[in-house]
Symmetry: C4
Subunit: 249 residues, 4 copies
Amino acid sequence: MSGLAAPLWRRAFAEGLGTGLLVTVVVGSGIAASALSPNDIGLQLLENAFATALGLAVLILMLGPVSGAHFNPVVSVVDWWLGRRTGTGLSPRDLAAYLPAQVAGAIAGAVLANLMYAEAAVSWSTKDRSSGPLWLGEVVATAGLVVLIFALAWSGRAAVTPVAVGAYIGSAYWFTSSTSFANPAVSIGRAFSDTFAGIAPGSVPGFVVAQFAGAAAGVGLLAVLYPRAGQAAGDVVTPSTDTTAGASS
Amino acid sequence: MSGLAAPLWRRAFAEGLGTGLLVTVVVGSGIAASALSPNDIGLQLLENAFATALGLAVLILMLGPVSGAHFNPVVSVVDWWLGRRTGTGLSPRDLAAYLPAQVAGAIAGAVLANLMYAEAAVSWSTKDRSSGPLWLGEVVATAGLVVLIFALAWSGRAAVTPVAVGAYIGSAYWFTSSTSFANPAVSIGRAFSDTFAGIAPGSVPGFVVAQFAGAAAGVGLLAVLYPRAGQAAGDVVTPSTDTTAGASS
Amino acid sequence: MSGLAAPLWRRAFAEGLGTGLLVTVVVGSGIAASALSPNDIGLQLLENAFATALGLAVLILMLGPVSGAHFNPVVSVVDWWLGRRTGTGLSPRDLAAYLPAQVAGAIAGAVLANLMYAEAAVSWSTKDRSSGPLWLGEVVATAGLVVLIFALAWSGRAAVTPVAVGAYIGSAYWFTSSTSFANPAVSIGRAFSDTFAGIAPGSVPGFVVAQFAGAAAGVGLLAVLYPRAGQAAGDVVTPSTDTTAGASS
Amino acid sequence: MSGLAAPLWRRAFAEGLGTGLLVTVVVGSGIAASALSPNDIGLQLLENAFATALGLAVLILMLGPVSGAHFNPVVSVVDWWLGRRTGTGLSPRDLAAYLPAQVAGAIAGAVLANLMYAEAAVSWSTKDRSSGPLWLGEVVATAGLVVLIFALAWSGRAAVTPVAVGAYIGSAYWFTSSTSFANPAVSIGRAFSDTFAGIAPGSVPGFVVAQFAGAAAGVGLLAVLYPRAGQAAGDVVTPSTDTTAGASS
């Protein structure tokens, strides 16, 4: 049972909305960056990272009290896994609502970005992202993300999670060779736009496998670093102890 | 009745000052960016977004305790609308003072930026910004802004609003095709400077309509995400519960 | 009498050290930026603004509990002026120690930057910065700085002052035509380095006059915005209520 | 005896992991920056500084409750030195575990960055960094880092240390001529990658000597600025008073 009081349909809606807007931020700022800074790919990535770091932090602030602001199947699955014995994480039923909402939202978010920039609603990305070093990048990126989120939750500092997660992704765009997708739903969504931030559909499965491998590594690191913690694993990303705002019905 | 204790004339003055300085930040940094980075429009936008994100956060911190730091007719109207039954938002009389103050301040801010950069005090912008995708961008930008501000206020986290709003706009400069004006008063003010951040007067009405449409969408999303909240809708952007500093008359 | 408990010699030392390191940050990052990004002056200013915004925030955090972290004669004079009746600001004796310490520190900071970058210890700047629009820029920049610092102090939010002041200056580098010196001591120090951030000695008096004019404008705005506040004007930039750490003699 | 409750092996593991990931951030983002922005070294450094400032802050947040998040032999040695009489800092036994863990982690972190970017696992850097001005840069960078960390700890503001240290290093990349290594373990690790952030092995000893000289200068400044403080020198970087999360054995 989750620590969040909103009914499941509303929480799933928030997950879909948040994941969707995250993809809109990533894809939309990527389109703008490549159009406006055509001569320097690094500058494009800096612009993309700037927009993503700020936008992701804001989205977590905005929706955390409703759904926990996972926006990421890896985070939701780990939340369920770590809380499965104590009943503090997502339930299997929660998971069955969160995951499809995240994937559907991600696709809608890519379509929205495409439309805002006068592109076709859907254009399959042709950007191949398949190689061992890139997969290693995704393992590292996702492991770090998982350790960060649960370390903050378990040490009573979830109030800084929105900013910390935004900062982490902004940094990981640069320090991982894969530019840190670190999110299966976002990886799927980014396949629907043949622009700067796209990923060819054929490269998605490899990324998703690497992301779950990274999540497993992150869970292992947490067991070493923060043993006996995790009883309060529910509601991990929520930046406020006050979750009653959306608590009706 | 508003939760703010300062007399209306002072609050309106703060709204005019804050909206004005916001336009000064946007227009002034746009002039500097296009003059100093003439070869890369993306770099110009990054410089403009950097200055705006930081400057907007600071202005909200500076004036929030006086007027709530709306600096935006859309925010003021939504504040009135959401609090009209419970009497927690702006009153119609408040609104009648805030809106003209915001617009007048915005125009004065553009003039100030022009003068600091040795331009003519007023030069009508010739930059056409009219198209469906741009209007969609304004709808998205304004809806997100409205959801963010009231979600933070209703979940007891208004202390982070200044930084969150600055970060949101800095990100939305990139992820929306319209570079996120998201503010009718600022849109009018930016028509008074034929520089980087300008907008042709003929394009302003379309932007304003899109902004109010976005605000309506934001109100709808809030009703889904945060039902039964909103009783404390007054004083929504104020970053401090201590509003007594400016409470005398 | 000041609210700070450290003896005056230590507070003056902290003011000299902090102002000096601020000039080291400004001048040093300016030298690096112009050497490493020779083809785009805007990019140089972005690098300079990035370093200054972060570095200034850190210096205020580092030394605030000792001296209040003014690092700026304008701030010290306004602190004395606003607290002269209630005895809450700097005393004339404090001022007589702070001001020369700030100026001497600023010069030493420029020399340190020059030496780190293998320049001559002192090279008079040849960069003329004299014109009405630039002076208007300094008036705006300094007025905003004064309003920000005292608005935060008087509304009980001095804990955010370090970040807010850093953000303000980082933004004002862009939105004012003068790149926001806003500080007489730093203006003098920057005359000692003929590099990116320099100012010709002959341009310094005009800037200093404009800065004090801006401070007066800021005091006027504060009187309108925050009347009856200011009784606690001492210790205005200190980011912690706990000033006992450096309280021995 | 340290204020941290985790067993020494776990704390040493956290120091190795954190120092390693810090080097991964520095080296990895340096490789990406030089590959993606080949025409402007300043832009490369801005990208590198952006990633490092955000990544370092996040790593301190992530591991602070376990080990104090020193990630730096200079910080650990100063922590021991300042707490040696009162027993509040690291013990000699702690030090004997922290230092080798930091160095080993740093080397592993460079190897990980190399592998993610499809470089040879190890390639000795050929970038000579030896000169008086560079050593002066390291003295300044390290002195400032030491003063910052202990000033925050001693004035009860360790909660902001993660962000402040990240911001400091991001700024010092620019204002010191040496780009602020300020860390002997990271200096050694960076010798293992012949890429943007590398340092030739022959230049490492000079940097390390300068860093310890800077640490001594920082300790001297602290004695002047914050006398009679320092009784709580243990656990200096931990951003939370709640260190019980990892407190089991």
